[in-house]
Symmetry: C2
């Protein structure tokens, strides 16, 4: 396997982008990443795109070919990857594998979702759960994650205020992110008093319905410096599967796929969780951000709430989480999220994150989840190659 | 890049399988391939699944995690790949890359589609075309391919009888395939006189709506003989993109993505088209089988009809095409097709194809198309490693 680096990043504004089409969004992000990387048109050899449900959201499958066509990339291979909300993380991984294998030297991995073209996004999102055992019985994602939150409170004494802190920190960071859907701060009181969604979760515990796209250019490490002075190296790419339905779990307060993928990633990268300077986690709901803090190993099981309460996840805390604003406040266009996370870590490691910069960040991590943990992808990046 | 081999094959019956669920079908094919390969449970490291539109057909996305769960594979990584009707071919390619790269030693690549759970499959299938420029204007796949057929007849003098021969040869072969949806023979007269669909195409020019799944086990070539005496080696894996909409083509009688992918594949494998002993082509409509014969290089442009008429594509002809019965007669569960094609070639090269055996086949090829050629995947396999 060859070493691999990221040499370019593209990112659209995330939000309710009524006036922008699916193909416009992905083209802006993809061409933005290509421009940022300084590669020429002839250098690009393949593209991978993460997208959860263009079929249900915009009545279009076969989107990789559509994108290749729209971006003027034909005849290079363009491949769509789907794993619900982890689609972006898996597109990133396929791009990394394609370069590590020697099949290609330079590829783009991108993610996109256009969610606002349907009247109600909920039924489409629910197809990420086990349809026969969960969604068709009336379970939606807020309700599934609310059950996890309630159990975590019962089991470990996690408080409503601690949960709310996940959103407060996200919004604080998003206020400094020009691409964020909700670039404003909030408070614990506002989170708790916002509209109830599925008790104990309120509106401000939940990531939004978003449109958006993001892209990165991936290059063989040996060639990266031909294009950029600041390649960011991929130190690990790991993926794991877990049970689809919550009722099959050994413990609904633990996402085993996160544990499996992260432990594999730490081993591949030769690091421990203490070496990670900045992390983007999958906080589709506040409780899932809290679970990630525990399952990635930043805090012991049951102590995630305390870590949040103590401010350990803030940009100047012990282990900064979601400097971008996370899914909650940057926004969560499903298939784009895993790539947007990687884009943020690249900016952090390049030292280009402006007011949300984690000072001196050298090693960063992304954590992308599908469903309630049926899929987990964990990537580790470094400023230094070794 | 490491050499790669196929060491196991699984295949469900194709057809209108009302009594069988999505997860039953893929589990039967996947576990069948694992059993055929003689690997143990601990040997399998990852799975890739091709599927076009589980979201629209069975209201379920995130199917790779569902499949991992159903087959008892957690926590290994399981990834869905989508490229319309070429989804299977791309899942095959991702599995090959995952092993060639050294990321994994043994993986499964599979494909599945459950199309009969919706009242009308046509709108879902139409999402493989350019929705904004084709499907929303009323174009369906039969009409798009009918336009190609009419133009080919006008341009090259291709006859209705020559087109029908594609289906006749397919059905002749399918009669000897125990997995085929339509295992019976037909005639040129019956094809021409069957119900009109989109002139000049009739019902027997069109592949059916099918349920089914297929799977192969892919292994590093150096390890293959630990599991089987008859590994089939992957000599080339190539993929190309083309324009989504027909109106953007330089020539609607040529599928440029087929030309690009096949020429790349011949180069990778170090062969010419004359070296290929058995080929599975993407005959979603009779005209597309005819285009494949030309664009893969078996016949000159415009001469595909003559080749069919002269019987050159029959099992004992100059270049046997679709010994399995092809999409027309074996059936076309969209995401499963690219893998079913590979399964057939593996059986042919092992000499296990029974009454449809191409005698002494040493090198085989598969050709899988998405939409009207937005994506093409071409794979070449050999009985010998070099």
């Amino acid at each position: 396997m060859r070493d691999v680096a990221i040499i370019g990043v593209g990112h659209t504004k995330f939000g309710e982008l009524w006036e922008r089409s699916f193909r416009e969004l992905i083209s802006e992000a993809g061409l933005g990443a290509i421009e940022d990387s300084n590669i020429g048109g002839a250098d690009l050899e393949a593209m991978f795109v993460g997208n959860m449900s263009s079929g249900l959201f915009v009545e279009q499958e076969h989107i990789a070919a559509l994108i290749s066509d729209s971006m003027g990339l034909n005849p290079i291979p363009c491949t769509r990857v789907e794993a619900a909300c982890a689609s972006g993380g898996l597109a990133l991984r396929q791009g990394i594998m394609a370069v590590a294998s020697g099949y290609h030297d330079v590829v783009v991995s991108a993610g996109v979702e256009k969610m606002t073209d349907v009247v109600d996004a909920t039924p489409a999102i629910a197809t990420a759960s086990d349809q026969e055992w969960e969604a068709q019985q009336g379970a939606t994602f807020p309700s599934l994650y609310a059950m996890i939150a309630r159990r975590h409170m019962h089991e470990y004494g996690t408080t409503r205020e601690q949960l709310a802190m996940m959103s407060v920190v996200n919004h604080k960071n998003a206020a400094n992110n020009p691409y964020a859907q909700f670039p404003f701060e909030t408070t614990v009181e506002k989170v708790i008093n916002s509209s109830p969604v599925a008790d104990p979760l309120t509106l401000l515990d939940c990531s939004p319905v978003s449109d958006g796209a993001a892209a990165v250019v991936i290059c063989a490490a040996d060639k990266a410096k031909e294009f950029t002075d600041t390649p960011i190296y991929v130190k690990a790419s790991a993926q794991a599967s877990g049970t689809m339905a919550l009722h099959s779990r050994r413990d609904i307060c633990t996402i085993d796929s996160t544990i499996a993928a992260s432990r594999k990633a730490y081993k591949m990268a030769g690091v421990t969780v203490k070496d990670i300077d900045a992390t983007e986690v999958h906080d589709c709901f506040s409780i899932n951000g809290l679970l990630a803090i525990e399952d990635l190993g930043f805090a012991e099981k049951g102590k995630g709430g305390i870590a949040l309460e103590e401010g350990q996840t803030m940009i100047d805390g012990d282990f900064p989480i979601n400097p971008s604003g996370g899914l909650k406040a940057r926004g969560h266009p499903l298939g784009a999220t895993g790539i947007a996370q990687a884009a943020e870590i690249v900016w952090q490691l390049r030292g280009e994150a402006g007011k949300r910069q984690v000072e001196g960040a050298e090693i960063g991590m992304t954590h992308n989840i599908g469903g309630t943990g049926g899929t987990a992808a964990v990537h580790i990046f470094g400023r230094d190659r070794n």
